[in-house]
Symmetry: C2
Subunit: 350 residues, 2 copies
């Protein structure tokens, strides 16, 4: 043991999900969008003069924030940008969860919440979901340093309506409530309309799913101008230039193509609902998804067995070896062709 090793941060490495380069891979394990981004993104890249890359990007991302503000009918100073919604969330934990009281999130939810708490030394308590995986708003009625949950929730795929969000907000007026809307574009439950009414509400969204831009790392928060300025202050104390020029421009092009966005989301929703029916016909119990993935358990065959058998055929879905959900599969909705290959393999396995 060298003395300098004592000065290193002790941390359990978080291991990203598995990857494969197999050419015939059906990749239904990362909740990626099966369709390309807006054709305007392709057109933009082809026109880009890279000589501009010698300059630092606009640290304030004014164009993209303006496009998002118009899209959501908010003001530009209510939009905060980050390098993917993970970056926005990690900064939000630092900006808004600075008390000594525990923050609250569901016991089954996005796996990064406890990781950020551990890295940033934020105390937390897990709030149990009901047995049917729905959120119980009364479970959040206790002293806390903040509340965060995804709506729709992951990996359960279940969403709650505005009435439940508003119930939780009414009972949690002394802390910041973050609603992580990573999957909201595949549902009807966005709470952007509540921003005018609750000044302690922060909504986080991403372009990785519904806008097919996972490769570009664009996330954002929508909140009051006051809370956005706290996020800006923390971000500017960390890295003033998190967003690169090309991501800013491509994100703007995507937001401005609303027709393509709606059409892609509608296609995924149609494939999702048809796939849920096919899974049920094969003996699965499928939660009513409001996302771009399905969370399902088979009545007889263990989830891990199905997961492994699919993987052997180069079809990747997601399996969580974790209490309460270790007999479930999370299946990202692919194209119709990908889902056909998935169902052919699944039929053979069962």
């Amino acid at each position: 043991m060298k003395l300098w090793q004592e000065k290193l941060r002790k941390i359990d490495p978080y291991v990203p999900g598995e990857q494969s380069d197999a050419p015939d891979l059906v990749k239904l394990n990362a909740n990626e969008n099966p369709y390309p981004p807006s054709p305007r993104v392709q057109a933009l890249l082809q026109q880009t003069d890279t000589s501009g890359l010698r300059l630092y990007p606009d640290a304030n991302g004014r164009n993209l924030r303006g496009a998002l503000a118009r899209h959501f009918r908010l003001s530009t100073d209510q939009v905060f940008l980050g390098n993917g919604s993970d970056d926005v969330l990690a900064l939000a934990f630092q900006a808004f969860f600075a008390s000594d009281q525990p923050i609250l999130f569901p016991d089954i939810t996005y796996s990064f919440y406890p990781v950020w708490c551990s890295l940033l030394r934020v105390p937390f308590e897990r709030v149990p979901l009901r047995d049917d995986f729905t959120i119980d708003p009364r479970a959040f009625d206790r002293p806390n340093g903040g509340v965060i949950f995804p709506n729709p929730n992951a990996p359960t795929s279940l969403g709650v309506g505005l009435d439940v969000i508003e119930d939780i907000l009414r009972h949690n007026q002394d802390c910041i409530v973050i609603i992580d809307e990573a999957y909201v574009d595949f549902s009807t439950c966005s709470c952007v309309s509540l921003l005018g009414k609750y000044d302690n509400l922060v909504i986080v969204q991403t372009m990785s799913k519904s806008r097919s831009l996972a490769g570009l790392r664009i996330g954002y928060a929508l909140c009051s101008a006051e809370l956005a300025s706290v996020l800006e202050a923390v971000k500017n104390s960390y890295n003033s230039y998190t967003m690169d020029s090309i991501a800013l421009a491509c994100g703007t092009a995507s937001v401005e193509d609303d027709a393509y966005f709606r059409e892609t989301c509608a296609k995924i929703i149609a494939t999702r609902d048809r796939s849920a029916g096919q899974l049920r016909a094969l003996g699965f119990t499928v939660l009513p998804s409001q996302t771009n993935f399905l969370f399902a358990t088979h009545q007889r065959r263990p989830a891990e067995e199905i997961f492994t058998a699919l993987k052997a055929q180069n079809i990747f879905v997601r399996y969580f070896r974790q209490p309460k959900i270790d007999n479930y599969l999370r299946i990202t909705v692919g194209t119709d062709a990908e889902m056909n290959r998935f169902f052919t393999a699944l039929g053979q396995i069962l």
Copy 2:
């Protein structure tokens, strides 16, 4: 005062440098490269099929890390990537400065070091430079939790040789020593050759200056595989996907075009040395720069006055209202044409 406001992080906002959209602006205030990036970057962007952006990027950035490893004759697991060198440095502060002892850095140096210490609650002590702005290696001979300084230093533009770096390393074997080589490609003082000898050495570099890619946000650390894995663990607990697909690909294209890189650096060095002579002829004292900027003080006219007069002519240089250097200007080296406009204006002002 609402109760939730008590749970917010109290932080002094760090304000990024001033911007201007004036079309005839001569921008010599951000140490940006006046030349475009490698033509291979332009060719690559035009060929990019954006349908791949629907997928998450390679979280491990294998291609770019491999290209950098070949360039520096290191192994791939000795290269760590980040979203600009600010991201790499902020993660390095969290990874390597985790003791209760103060980290040491020069009293005149990169302004972000104390900002990260404050955000991350890392104690620090400022080590005075000598009166001629050179680094005194003996000043670091005291108990500490780590050492960091830029070589060449900013904003002084002065570099030290390998003998000084090695002297500091020999006297600081019980902590991590970070050498921030943001400007090293305009000098001959890189300490990459010391990596095989000192396992507590971490070198941080950026593609924002010498590779004209400030707009893409690419930085990296070079160190032992052991230290790189600690950086990876902290990064993966924060945001697994900091680097987007396009930045990874463009960075690789740049590293693989060594001829263009050398040619551009040589042009900037030639303009720098000629400009230093012109400044001296106008009555400036100019520090012997090993960077892409010049740090200069006029024998009679106050720096702030010159700064303001240049700004009125849309020529932006950098002025620091800060003890010891408040009579200096930091002037980024532009193209010959930009420097001609700068010198014409400067001649009129003086």
